[in-house]
């Protein structure tokens, strides 16, 4: 027997939360964004060069260099995990891409005949199919990232190892492999497809740096995935209450492996883009970047205890770090202060959040 439903129900003692008390305005991301705007204003008065087009492009490019990896690590942090291997991963993917691109473009190297042939003059190397070398080498770089992500995910989700220890080990393993394959020497993307590679990684599109465009596209995709798909919902559920996620039938193992794979792929892509901008993939590339990347995610509101975070926060965190770096340079302060300041900001951001949740 059904009971009559008195719907919609009204409550006399429950008001509606004001717009500024809910959503982004009440989040750490919200007031870090506010701090960022304030910082922009201060910088505008402190240095006439800050708001010039050249400097803005510079800022946009520089923060894009860690922001894509930050998006990836944010996925992991939302589930309550951590990935310390992103810096090494950036280097290793960049190195594989760059070495493969160079190797298959050298006639005489086994397999190279599939990709290139010598022109009639006997010196110029010509690609068999323009763009194929680029596609294959980028896919190879992302392929090794995929494998590393799977191994991380397997150790953490299936074997039950702690994410901190697993990825700390992976940091060392991947960096070591980078030295092994390169013998410690840097590698330079070259060959007939290198021009495409440089155009795609350090070129401009519609007056904006290409990496910035990739970042925007990936951030929008991430926002949709996190808030409008079942996978995104499960990522948050895992960070909120892993046991609950398991008893409601969510495949915890699968979601965990997926986030570590996403993180490794984002780091790999980021590394490949950086190598295009640098024009090389040195074996010590992106050393200790994992700290900046995790710091940016945390400043932007990703909760290391799990359950909170998003693409906007990740980007805001990266922009804040870059504007501070840029500002210190423009203000002619020693760049050594940067690291100290970053540490202070991490603690401040988390402190303000704590104070706010106490008051609420």
């Amino acid at each position: 027997m059904a009971t009559p439903i008195e719907s919609p129900i009204t409550f006399t003692n429950v008001g509606k939360a004001r717009w500024w008390q809910s959503g982004i305005f009440a989040s750490q991301t919200g007031y870090v964004l506010l701090a960022l705007v304030a910082l922009f204003v201060v910088m505008h008065f402190a240095s006439p060069y800050f708001f010039t087009e050249g400097n803005m492009q510079n800022v946009a490019k520089n923060f894009s260099f860690i922001a894509i990896a930050t998006l990836g690590v944010t996925f992991v942090i939302i589930t309550g995990g951590i990935d310390l291997s992103v810096g090494s991963m950036m280097c290793f993917s960049a190195m594989i891409t760059s070495m493969l691109m160079t190797d298959v473009s050298t006639p005489g190297v086994p397999g190279a005949s599939w990709f290139v042939h010598l022109a009639a003059d006997g010196k110029t190397v010509v690609a068999n199919v323009p763009g194929l070398i680029l596609a294959v080498s980028v896919l190879a770089g992302l392929g090794v990232a995929l494998i590393v992500g799977l191994v991380n995910g397997f150790c953490i989700a299936v074997l039950g190892l702690s994410p901190f220890v697993t990825t700390l080990g992976m940091l060392s393993i991947v960096r070591g492999l980078g030295y092994v394959v390169s013998n410690g020497r840097g590698s330079f993307p070259s060959g007939p497809d290198a021009d495409y590679f440089y155009a795609l990684t350090s070129g401009d599109l519609f007056g904006m740096p290409a990496p910035f465009i990739y970042l925007l596209v990936l951030a929008v995709a991430m926002a949709v995935v996190l808030h409008h798909t079942a996978f995104g919902r499960h990522v948050f559920a895992l960070g909120g209450n892993e046991k609950a996620a398991a008893v409601t039938g969510i495949s915890v193992v699968r979601v965990k492996i997926e986030v570590y794979v996403i993180c490794a792929l984002a780091a790999g892509l980021q590394g490949i883009i950086i190598s295009g901008w640098l024009g090389s993939a040195p074996a010590n590339m992106a050393t200790s970047y994992e700290l900046n990347i995790i710091a940016a995610a945390v400043i932007g509101g990703a909760n290391l205890a799990g359950g909170g975070g998003g693409p906007l926060g990740a980007i805001v965190g990266c922009v804040l770090l870059e504007v501070i770096r840029n500002g210190l340079v423009l203000a002619q302060v020693s760049s050594y202060w940067q690291q100290t300041l970053v540490g202070v900001i991490i603690i401040l951001a988390v402190l303000v959040d704590r104070i706010r949740s106490r008051m609420a």
Binding site: M1, A230, F236, G240, N241, A244
Partner: protein, 254 residues
């Protein structure tokens, strides 16, 4: 209070259920029947076999002896998901809610409704919120679908956990200590949630240590001791004193 035995077929029928863990006999020869719309209190001291019985019914592990019949058909569960598929839901003591998600998101956790956009399946927020609102309405709970669970009272959290069982149209809901560690007002809310389930024809098994709650909502009380069923009586035919002596063993059986 009239127990609806005449309503016909029992929703759950256990015959001679036994379960051993090595040398330990956790359950022995348990017979039990639960009818639709009936609330049965399952009582017993720690280690009496209550949790084992619940886990056997919920499919966490199969019994060594005996038969489980659900709606007249013999069933064999090997995983909890098998039990859930036929309509048995468990509301866990810690409720299994994700604090950082909204009430509606928790109700639909693992069973999200989606709409197709070409190759992508996106969440159907509107329909899920509306359905959750409807379920909270049926339970007469002051719970709003868009509120985060971390901001909710104990009673509201129970409503969310129970709404989850309503979503799947469960025919038997087993609740593990739902009234432990919540305030007096909230206990009242939870008991009324149980009455709502009963009104909808759902069979409820209430596992509890709290005598007043059992006597307030249950039609029948089953007492377990040392893995055996020692009593199975209508609430009108027994008293808290008798149940207490059955639990402690002062009285062997009734």
């Amino acid at each position: 209070m009239v127990t609806p035995h005449a309503a016909g077929q029992p929703v759950l029928e256990l015959t001679g259920i036994g379960k051993q863990f090595g040398a330990i006999r956790a359950l022995h020869g348990v017979d039990m029947r639960i009818f639709p719309g009936e609330v049965v209190g399952l009582m017993g001291d720690n280690g009496a076999g209550k949790s084992t019985l619940v886990k056997v019914i919920a499919g966490n592990f199969p019994p060594n002896h005996g038969e489980i019949r659900f709606e007249g058909k013999a069933v064999h569960f090997t995983r909890p998901i098998d039990a859930r598929a036929v309509g048995i839901e468990v509301v866990y003591q810690d409720l299994a809610l994700a604090d950082n998600l909204t009430a509606a998101a928790n109700v639909f956790l693992g069973r999200e409704l989606k709409r197709k956009f070409g190759p992508f399946a996106l969440l159907d927020h509107k329909t899920m919120a509306a359905r959750a609102q409807e379920l909270f309405g049926e339970l007469r709970s002051e719970t709003r679908p868009h509120d985060l669970v971390k901001q909710m009272s104990g009673g509201q959290r129970q409503a969310v956990a129970i709404a989850r069982t309503r979503l799947s149209n469960a025919k038997l809901v087993m609740m593990d200590e739902p009234t432990a560690a919540i305030s007096v007002r909230q206990v009242e809310q939870v008991l009324s949630l149980i009455r709502r389930l009963k009104e909808q024809g759902v069979a409820v098994m209430l596992i509890s240590h709290r005598m007043p709650d059992v006597f307030a909502v249950c039609d029948r009380v089953v007492v377990m001791r040392r893995g055996e069923k020692r009593a199975d009586k209508g609430i009108g035919d027994t008293s808290p004193e008798e149940v207490t002596s059955l639990i402690t063993g002062a009285k062997e059986a009734a």
